[in-house]
Symmetry: C2
Subunit: 225 residues, 2 copies
Amino acid sequence: MASQKRPRPRTKLRRMPERAVNDREPINEILDEAVVSHLGIVDDSGFPVVIPTTHARIGDDLYIHGSAASRTLKRAAKSEICLTVTLLDGLILARSALNHDVTYRSVVVFGEPELLRGPEAKREALHAFTEKLVPGRWDEVREPTDRELKMTAVMRMPLDEVSAKVRTGGPKDVDEDYELPVWAGVVGLHMTAGAPEPDDRLLPDVECPAHVTALDTHGARWRGR
Amino acid sequence: MASQKRPRPRTKLRRMPERAVNDREPINEILDEAVVSHLGIVDDSGFPVVIPTTHARIGDDLYIHGSAASRTLKRAAKSEICLTVTLLDGLILARSALNHDVTYRSVVVFGEPELLRGPEAKREALHAFTEKLVPGRWDEVREPTDRELKMTAVMRMPLDEVSAKVRTGGPKDVDEDYELPVWAGVVGLHMTAGAPEPDDRLLPDVECPAHVTALDTHGARWRGR
C-alpha cells in the first residue's frame, strides 16, 4: 500500500473522514469540469517537474494517459505523484493592493498511479476521456485498435487522498479600508466555446453533427456553473 | 549557483541557446496572459506537491508571492521548484478517439527562487501583480504598508531555465482515417469577463471606474489572442 510509505496525511479528507462523503460531490464537479490538470512528479535528481496533462474520472478513480514512450509517464507510474486542477472563476478587486485575489476552485490529488494492463481497461478509460472532452463523441469516431492501445499508457489513481479548495465571494479588506472611496468587487471570468472549425481534409459530404454544434456556447459559459 | 546542482539541462533553451532570443517573446506572452500557475515543490518526505498560485513578470524575472507564514512558500524559497502555466485554447476533434487532443500554450520554469528582502523590492513586485491582474489598478487602491509587506513573502526567479510548448492547428489523424465520414476539426475556447459586480460594502458615492468597466469583454476574448 502506498499509504504505508507516507509519514502523515496530506489532505483534510483524511484528517476529517466524516466530511469525505459530503465533499466528494464538489470535488467530482471540479475534476469533471476541468480539462487541463497539472501533474507533479519528482525526477531522477529529486527535483520537481510539473507538466500539463488531461484527466478523466470514472466513479472514484482518476485516469491520466499519454504515449507509452513518455518519460514523465513512466516516471509517474512507479512513484508518488500529485495531480492538481484549478478553475479560475474571477478577479477580486479589493480596496488595497495586497487584498486583490482571484476566485477559483481547485482539487489536489495525491497517490501512486497504477498502469493499466490489457486492452479492455484501457479502452474503458479512453471512452471516459473522449466522452469527457466532447459528450457523444465516442460513438461517432473510430475506436482504438489493440495495437494503438499497446502504445498508450493509461494510469489509474483512486481518489483516496484528495482535497478541494474553493474561494468564492468578494474582497476581504481590513476594517479601516472600508472607509476608502475605492470601487471594490468581483469581475467574473468564464470559458466560452466558439463555432466549430472544420478540418481542411474533411470529406465533402460530412456535416457537422449535433454533438459538435452543441459545443458552441455563443458567449455563454462552457461547462460548469 | 543553483545550476551547479543540476546534473543536466532540462529545457530546450539551454540546449539551443541560439533560440533563446526568438523564443522569449512567446514565453513572455504566455506568462503574462495566464493568471494562474502551478507551483511544484518536493516536500520534506520527498513527495511532489503542486499548488495553484499566481505569478507576475518584470523583465526577465518571474515573481510569486503569498503569506510569509505559508509552509509551501517557505519550502519553495530554499529549494528547486517548477512553475508551470497552461492556457487552454480549444478542443481538437479527430476522426479516431485516440487522436483527440486540445490546443494549448504552456510554459515550464525551473529554478531556485530567492526571497526578496526589504519593502522596496516587495512593493515593486506587488505593483506588477496588481497591474497584471487589473491594468490601471495600482494608482486607485491603497498601497501596502511596510508592516503588511513584512507579512508577505515575495520570491523572484530569473527566467533562465524556461521553455514553452504550444499545440495549435487541427487534428492529426492516421492516413487511412482521412477516408472516414467523420466530422473533424477544432472548437476554440476562450476566457471572457463579465460585468463588474460591486462589493456589498461599497461606499454609496463610489462609481465603477474606467479601468474596471474596461474589463467587461461582452463575450469577446479576455486577454491574449
